[in-house]
Amino acid sequence: MSRDFSSLIGLELKGTSFKVKKEKLVEFAESIGAKQPQFLDSASPIAHPAYANAFVLPALMKVTDAKAADGQPVIKNPLKILHGGQVYTYPKDAPPLQDGDKIMTTPKIKNIEVKSNGMLVLDLEATSTIEKSNDESKIGKVVVISGIGVVVMPGGF
């Protein structure tokens, strides 16, 4: 019998907190071959936009906490999870991320359905907000909104 996941649409999952460290900003920029000095300045780097990967991925994994109407976890075998896609949208007034900023990323289930090929497909939207910063004007600002596609293979849910 197929399981009912419809009650999960709109569900907000527990957020994850992430502290930005300057050493990691530089390391990340170097790992993707970025050459711009603002990403590589060891004293005061800013985050490359792609650094969103570092704090959005842990939030994505929160999907394994979600429970279906039957009280059982939606995803029974996390090894069956595939990362189906990811889209970042940066608000116009998003401040640059710097050392000491603390980001809260909160995912929400936008849609969940079992496709005809037997795969479970979840569409998540995660909002990443600065919750602490040495610069108080940045607190509460959204830095990126992520659309995340999660695919669970048959046998995983």
């Binding site: 790992s31 993707i32 603002q38 936009p49 792609a50 570092a54 940066y90 116009k92």
Partner: protein
């Protein structure tokens, strides 16, 4: 500096290639894992990757995704990247070369900014067979490569209880004489890896072709991320 007035719908905007000419190496996957915080062993350890059902180590999907971000930032600057991303369709392995490009689909002005929408395509090139061959010197380069791309691979494996006893690979292509002692293939990639309906199989010369003999590679091109992006073009 990119100029909005010089951009046209339908033209290719930013382009980038990563891993050329020799292919990505495992150390690059590890550097990204350490920096990006995704330390899943399938990206760093060949044994863990195979145990998880892969045919070898694979790159993080978000590694190629991050490279799209790099391409856009290099093109217009970090503050002008509005949105990017897409669907992840294929894996990237050590030895692969990945190319990225944005094709302009729309240019317009909104909220006081000059914006460009793009289709983003990321293609992974995997070399899975190399060899030496000869042919009639009158055949053009294009004819030789087309014939090579029509080639047939045969793999014979004999096993004993102690493990693999013999692995024999042959490759034959029309109008081309392949030296059977100089054909090398990636065994891991021979096993049900190529998706004939989704992948493009093509051939290329390794080095310069002599009129009647040459080294060649058979390569597979596969879309790895397909998506969209919007950027502002700075004044």
């Amino acid at each position: 500096m990119v100029k909005y007035d010089e951009l046209k719908e339908g033209q290719i905007g930013p382009k980038m290639e990563y891993g050329a000419p020799y292919g990505l190496v495992e150390a690059e996957f590890k550097a990204y894992a350490d920096a990006g915080g995704d330390t899943n062993p399938i990206h760093q350890d060949i044994v863990a990757a195979i145990k998880a059902g892969n045919q070898g180590m694979i790159a993080h999907g978000l590694y190629s995704h991050a490279m799209i971000g790099k391409m856009l930032v290099d093109w217009v600057g970090a503050e002008n990247v509005k949105t990017y991303g897409g669907r992840m369709l294929g894996m990237t392995r050590p030895g692969d070369i990945v190319s990225f490009q944005g094709k302009i689909t729309k240019k317009y002005e909104a909220d006081g900014e000059k914006l460009v929408d793009m289709e983003i395509k990321t293609t992974t090139k995997t070399t899975y067979l190399r060899g030496e061959a000869s042919c009639d010197a009158k055949l053009s380069d294009d004819e030789v490569l087309k014939n090579l791309a029509k080639g047939k691979i045969k793999v014979a494996i004999d096993w004993d209880l102690a493990g693999q006893k013999k692995f024999e690979l042959t490759f034959d292509a029309p109008n081309v004489k392949v030296n059977p002692k100089r054909v090398v293939g990636d065994k891991a990639l021979m096993r049900n890896w190529i998706r004939a309906d989704k992948d493009t199989i093509t051939a290329e010369f390794i080095g310069k072709r002599k009129p009647d003999s040459f080294w060649f590679a058979i390569v597979v091109l596969r879309d790895s991320i397909v998506g969209t992006a919007t950027v502002a073009i700075p004044e």
